[in-house]
Assembly symmetry: C2
Amino acid sequence: MIFRQLYEPLSSTYTYLLGDEDTGQAILIDPVIATMDRDLAEVHRLGLDLVYTVDTHIHADHITAALEMKRAVGSKIAAPAFDRLPCVDVGLEEGTPLQVAGITLHPLHTPGHTDGHFAYLFNEQVFTGDALLIDGCGRTDFQNGDADALYKSVRQKLFSLPDDTLVYPAHDYKECFVSSIAQEKKRNPRLGEDITLEEFKVIMSNLNLPYPKFIDYAVPGNRQCGVCPDDLPDNLASYCRQMTQSPQG
Amino acid sequence: MIFRQLYEPLSSTYTYLLGDEDTGQAILIDPVIATMDRDLAEVHRLGLDLVYTVDTHIHADHITAALEMKRAVGSKIAAPAFDRLPCVDVGLEEGTPLQVAGITLHPLHTPGHTDGHFAYLFNEQVFTGDALLIDGCGRTDFQNGDADALYKSVRQKLFSLPDDTLVYPAHDYKECFVSSIAQEKKRNPRLGEDITLEEFKVIMSNLNLPYPKFIDYAVPGNRQCGVCPDDLPDNLASYCRQMTQSPQG
């Protein structure tokens, strides 16, 4: 099995490439429009065909590459059925795995960052999106975010996975790349095992985060599976479209 | 493939269990005498037979369980050939993999913490012993330690592994469990890509670490593949032998 962790530096997003060596079929989890050329080149370099893009949720900080990749290479768009986006080819639900050659993704409904958020379990790896970050978690103050729901998603669902399960988040802002369920249980300062629900709610309500600079463009753009809106100010148009080279190459 | 990361809290040591599901054969990397009952129970619980114990180096902070496990369940003792220990059944050398059923360990000579130190590469995982820790490294002031050699081992040998290779160290003191080569290149404050050899040597020479409290007993004990010396003071005898339950269970 081929695995690559790719990085989009403008939004500090991790995109994950899973490829089946026997059939050459591949999927990308949370691809970003800014790095789609880099990511498609990596798929091609490895001799793979992109069969699906899979999003964990409707992102607020970047534009998904799902639609542009479909146009470029014919990949199908998979995303949570919960969000009922007309542009999605395959709506994912918990209990119904997405099977691509030897790759079996198990969708786990993990609301709280957004109400339609899903994580995906693949063997001993879990792609946690913005529900569980390394030493952190996604914010809960937009997109029907809900601290109670996020606490339950992480503590009851993700923390019930085996301790050695590798945690691959959708973002990291401190150059961490990977964690494990055991590590997050021990160390996560928001959701670790010694934090109560009441403590978590206080933490989340006191974050004092700024209004997300891109959310008013990203959410409608991502509800269309990845469109850079026409009315973007110049600085955000660049942010949306810029074809950067990842520092990871 | 079965994988378990086990923890010995007195010396903050990670022991790794690798098991081949098809044959039931298993190995333990860096087992600790204090947790041998716990570890053998885990091997048994998983329906496995322990075929080898494998040490990364002659430890100075704990006693290996290699000899006691051999006595208990007949496992063979594998360790670096470099150290020429008469009690070792299989001396490991770079270029000659250790094959146990479907498990292939590739020994990588990584001197610097000790001169005979080896890391072991297993598919996309590398067990780095004390050469490379998460955000750190082992000390270089005993057992023919050598900062120049350690820098070369990490920067030229371990950092030449693919970025997504998972780093599983022999110790952690801050409740970190796993890292990756990419993460250590970016974040390791001693050996990250932006640190020069001269800077590393200054860091290592200014650590001002205390004399290792157990080294005078552990090194001769481990040169016999794991013997608690008869002349241990009471407090260290307890440290050597104590059968603890790991907080990881």
